[in-house]
């Protein structure tokens, strides 16, 4: 935090550079008071002196939007990290900056408009380039208000991103030359669309517990609060890998660097099952890990949201995963503390709630200017202090999201993964499973939990056989369906079709009228069927092995109540 005496005009949230010896340190104006500006420096301020010069840029903190963002790894201020690495080696030196978009790469441009004195407005696609598997639309920059006349457009051909491809004229006769790249301030949502819809289509994560029980929809929001060690990040990683969307943006905000590394290093090798291309081609990583400067952490979630909105504008389904929003909130708290603002609960600033709401509100399904539908889904993890959900960040987040996947330390300790608590979590979105069937399954879980609590008090012998079977059924549902082995190549991702199929089978067991005379016998039987089911989960869907294993389940159930089978063979 520095204070600067300035002359002339400056803008709130304007970017300036502190000239400290040979370094140029980027900073953002966060408060202006007569001729004094308070600025948050995005770098380590070691070595800065009183009387150092600050240069103002006359621009709000912005990101570059254009082709070539996909597959990139940026820091919170959109500096491409691999480029910095090539230049500076192992470390991130102070004040190092690089352009987000490689201007040397040539893109094959195809115009969509004729230059027949056509009127264009912001957000209208003028042409496109092929970026990986996507048609990257080149739109009239979002900062261009009003009507413009398209004077000239480049012919189809290969151009670098910074070459002029269109010439516009406004009503006052000014001409503008447009390249493929333009910038947009990150803290301002892009709201250029015909209309915004309610989320309606399911977003498949291939995680059974989420898709079946607590679904998320495209354009919706959800949050994953959980204590440390409960598996938030693993869950996010699995989602980023298997979710059925066009583009995934991972905002690693103030978390461990090691977690990002896994994504950076592994994604190029993993094939996207849908397209057969490398997963990295549909991924953008914004990483401002915990050891990187705190102020840029605040910027990183906005950078991610802005890029997400940009791709949504092209009619694509984008999923933004923010890990973790608590670190972002803490960065806000640090800044607020330095401004000596009156602290709210747990010293978070009073505007915490509205900032969180604003951020999640950037999600949604839209109809773009050209009629294409795109969506931005936001999933944020929350790291509540002490794992206690009654803290400001979790509570503010719960108010605005559509689904809550609460992770439980008890489930994590018992190695039940994903450790989403099936009793506490909720989703306001409609899933693909029949509602009534789902309610039955949920009821078994709740009842099973009650019985389990009761058994802790009255013991197994004090529990009726009927209750005991419910308890076993709940345990069965938990171990064969809710739990999923994220490290097994097959079990890690379950398609909707398979979920529906397996869930029906699970429900058959849940609805099955078992009769036992002794509890050990009941327990043994459930262990047997559980074993068959778990093995089933590891078989490839609709393969021969899958069918063989399935027939074992059917046999088990069909033969179960026949008297001669009652005796369990050892």
């Amino acid at each position: 935090m520095i204070t600067v005496v300035f002359s002339g005009n400056i803008i709130q949230n304007e970017v300036g550079y502190v000239i400290s010896k040979e370094h140029r340190l980027m900073a953002e104006v966060i408060r202006i008071n007569s001729n004094i500006a308070y600025m948050q420096v995005f770098e380590d301020t070691k070595g800065v002196k009183v009387d150092d010069t600050v240069e103002f840029s006359n621009q709000m903190l912005s990101v570059q939007l254009g082709p070539g963002l996909l597959g990139q790894v940026f820091d919170g201020l959109q500096n491409p990290l691999p480029v910095l690495a090539k230049k500076h080696g192992f470390f991130l030196p102070k004040g190092a900056q690089e352009g987000a978009i490689n201007m040397k790469t040539k893109w094959h441009f195809s115009p969509l408009l004729d230059p027949q004195n056509q009127t264009v407005r912001k957000g209208m696609p003028m042409g496109y380039v092929q970026e990986g598997i996507f048609k990257h639309k080149l739109m009239v920059p979002f900062t261009f208000d009003g009507d413009y006349n398209l004077e000239k457009i480049a012919d189809e051909g290969d151009y670098p991103a910074d070459q002029t491809i269109a010439w516009l004229k406004n009503s006052r006769g000014q001409t503008f030359e447009l390249s493929m790249v333009f910038s947009w301030p990150i803290k301002v949502p892009i709201q250029i669309y015909k209309q915004k819809f309610l989320p309606q289509e399911p977003l498949t994560t291939k995680i059974r517990l989420i898709d079946t029980f607590f679904p998320v929809q495209k354009g919706g929001t959800y949050c994953i609060p959980g204590p440390f060690g409960a598996g938030k990040t693993v869950l996010q990683q699995l989602t980023s890998r298997y979710a059925e969307v066009d583009i995934v943006i991972i905002a690693a905000c103030g978390e461990r660097a090691g977690e990002v590394v896994e994504t950076i290093r592994k994604f190029p090798e993993i094939k996207d099952p849908k397209t057969g291309r490398s997963l990295l081609e549909r991924t953008i990583i914004i990483c401002n890990t915990s050891s990187m400067p705190v102020a840029a952490r605040d910027a990183s979630v906005y950078t991610a949201a802005t890029i997400g909105e940009y791709y949504r504008q092209m009619g694509l389904d984008v999923l933004l995963l923010a890990d973790s929003t608590s670190r972002w909130a803490q960065a806000m708290r640090e800044v607020s503390g330095r401004l000596e603002e009156i602290p709210g609960e747990e010293a978070y600033p009073a505007y915490l709630e509205s900032r969180i709401a604003e951020f999640y509100e950037r999600s949604g399904v839209i109809e773009a200017i050209d009629g294409e539908k795109g969506s931005l889904t936001i999933g944020g993890t929350v790291s509540p202090a002490g794992g206690n959900f009654d803290e400001p960040v979790t509570q503010s987040t719960l108010k605005v999201v559509g689904a809550f996947h609460g992770l439980s330390r008890d489930r994590a300790n018992a190695r039940r993964f994903p450790s989403i608590d099936p009793l506490d979590s909720w989703s306001r979105y409609q899933g693909f499973i029949d509602q009534e069937q789902l309610e039955r399954a949920k009821k078994v879980l709740h009842k099973g939990n009650e019985v389990n609590q009761m058994m802790k008090v009255v013991g197994e012998e004090g529990t009726s056989m009927e209750d005991f079977v419910v308890y076993l059924k709940a345990e069965f549902l938990d171990s064969v369906y809710l739990q999923q082995n994220g490290f097994d190549p097959i079990d890690a991702s379950t398609s909707l079709k398979r979920q529906q199929y397996v869930f029906n089978k699970v429900c058959r067991v849940l609805d099955f009228d078992f009769s036992f005379d002794q509890k050990p016998h009941a327990r043994q039987s459930f262990y047997q069927i559980r074993q068959i089911f778990i093995d089933w989960n590891y078989k490839e869907f609709e393969s021969q092995e899958f069918k063989t294993q399935e027939s074992r389940i059917d046999n088990f159930l069909n033969e179960f109540n026949k008297p001669e089978q009652l005796k369990i063979n050892k």
Partner: protein, 432 residues
């Protein structure tokens, strides 16, 4: 020659202010008092008012004492001569060796570029089954040991220091009791490990500000060795003292406290240190193990809580054993598929059963009748505790896995466990 200032305008806690110009943020200064000379660091600049944090504390400082700015931030000498040496929290020798002044390096360097990091994939064997089997330690990992005062955490650290497969050890003590410092020194000395170790020790008797420097000193030195190709293990004890020192300074500086008096940037401060753990591609690595004592055995206390969010897992030390619940090595999945086919299955399966044993134990304590299954669990739990969990067990990973199957077979039928059938066929001991 730098300018000398001799008018100290205020002394609050360990922070003094002087009026001075051309001073850089985090620059060092020397304060000369009638008691001796101490280093101090610039922590705030406001116009020409410079606030300095005095390493040896403000006691005995007179308002006309001399403050001389050194024009550079805190640095430490780096050379091979560091090995086998013991220093204090300001980098001065604590043993009888000479002070080192050549090849000075800055102690808080820039962060590592995440895109230059590599996926950790080498296990560090410690021959402690609770670590090797259940929560493997991995090169470049940062792991705290959560513990209450009185647990043998320093003994555990010393044992890991002796047994872990690394090139060298850097030990940082913050607020270490003198006898614990001697314990480390003697243990490493008697086993001949001292000459591959470097100590930076701040004892409880030293000025608190010096303790703040210890992690940075250790990690700066470790980083240089790692860049030179060494596999370095950094042991820090105890990071709660470090956080308390941060708290003390923050309160002196009248910062708004966030949680139980700790400053709002506690997370970032801790993360900046822990994130120094790294595996340099084509060079060495830094692995960090740090003791974090939990005041009142409360893991939701701000220090362990923030630590848990930063580190790649944690070991809980309770009743002299590494607790299987809660203890977690987040990186174990990177290595435990390359050891032996049954490693993961044993790791999960045995813990699931142990969890059931704990539940049964509770039921038993409440006086319920025990079923056959309960009795099996009780038997299992006891064997597991004595033959696996006990810290004195010192066997290789493979032997520990074999032992795991043996314990299971002693207590259960194969189908009572939830192992995959092919593993049971291959590993379940046939003689039972």
């Amino acid at each position: 020659m730098r300018k000398v200032y001799s008018k100290i305008t205020s002394i609050v806690g360990n922070v003094i202010t002087v009026k001075a110009s051309d001073v850089a943020y985090e620059e060092l200064a020397e304060v000369k008092t009638s008691w001796g000379t101490s280093l101090a660091q610039v922590i705030k600049l406001e116009g020409d008012v410079v606030s300095l944090q005095v390493f040896s504390g403000s006691r005995g400082i007179s308002t006309d004492d001399e403050v001389r700015f050194l024009g550079q931030p805190m640095r430490v000498a780096f050379s091979q001569n560091l090995l086998g040496r013991i220093f204090d929290g300001s980098g001065q020798p604590r043993d009888k060796g000479p002070a080192l002044t050549d090849n000075l390096i800055e102690i808080t360097g820039p962060a590592v570029n995440p895109s230059k990091r590599i996926i950790p994939e080498r296990m560090i064997r410690t021959n402690i089954p609770m670590i090797d089997v259940f929560n493997s330690l991995v090169v470049s990992q940062k792991l705290p040991i959560f513990s209450v005062s009185g647990e043998p955490y320093n003994e555990l650290l010393a044992r890991i220091a002796l047994q872990a497969e690394v090139d060298m050890i850097v030990l940082g003590g913050v607020g270490l009791k003198y006898d614990q410092y001697m314990y480390f020194k003697n243990t490493l000395e008697s086993s001949g490990a001292l000459n591959r170790s470097i100590f930076f020790v701040h004892t409880a008797a030293d000025p608190i500000v010096e303790g703040l420097m210890v992690p940075d000193l250790c990690l700066a030195v470790a980083q240089e060795f790692a860049l030179g190709g060494k596999e370095v293990l950094v042991l820090l004890t105890d990071m709660t003292n470090f956080a308390d020192a941060l708290k003390e300074i923050a309160i002196t500086m009248e910062q708004v406290p966030s949680n139980r008096g700790y400053p709002g940037d506690l997370y970032s401060q801790l993360a900046r240190r822990y994130e120094k753990a790294v595996d340099f591609e084509g060079a060495g690595s830094i692995t960090v193990l740090a003791v974090t004592t939990m005041p009142g055995d409360d893991v939701t206390h701000p220090v362990p809580d923030n630590t848990g969010y930063i580190t790649e897992g944690q070991f809980y030390l309770r009743a002299g054993r590494i607790e299987p619940f809660g203890s977690l090595s987040r990186l174990k999945q990177q290595v435990n598929d390359k050891t032996r086919q049954d490693h993961r299955a044993i790791m999960d399966g045995m813990i699931q059963l142990y969890a059931q044993y704990k539940e049964t134990g509770e039921k038993k304590a409440m006086g319920f009748r025990m079923s056959d299954w309960d009795r099996k669990l009780l038997k299992y739990g006891e064997i597991f505790e004595s033959e696996m969990m006990d810290l004195s067990v010192n066997i290789s990973l493979e032997k520990a896995l074999d032992k795991g199957w043996k314990i299971l077979a002693e207590c259960f039928q194969p189908q009572e466990t939830s192992f995959r059938s092919e593993l049971i066929e291959k590993f379940w001991p046939k003689s039972f």
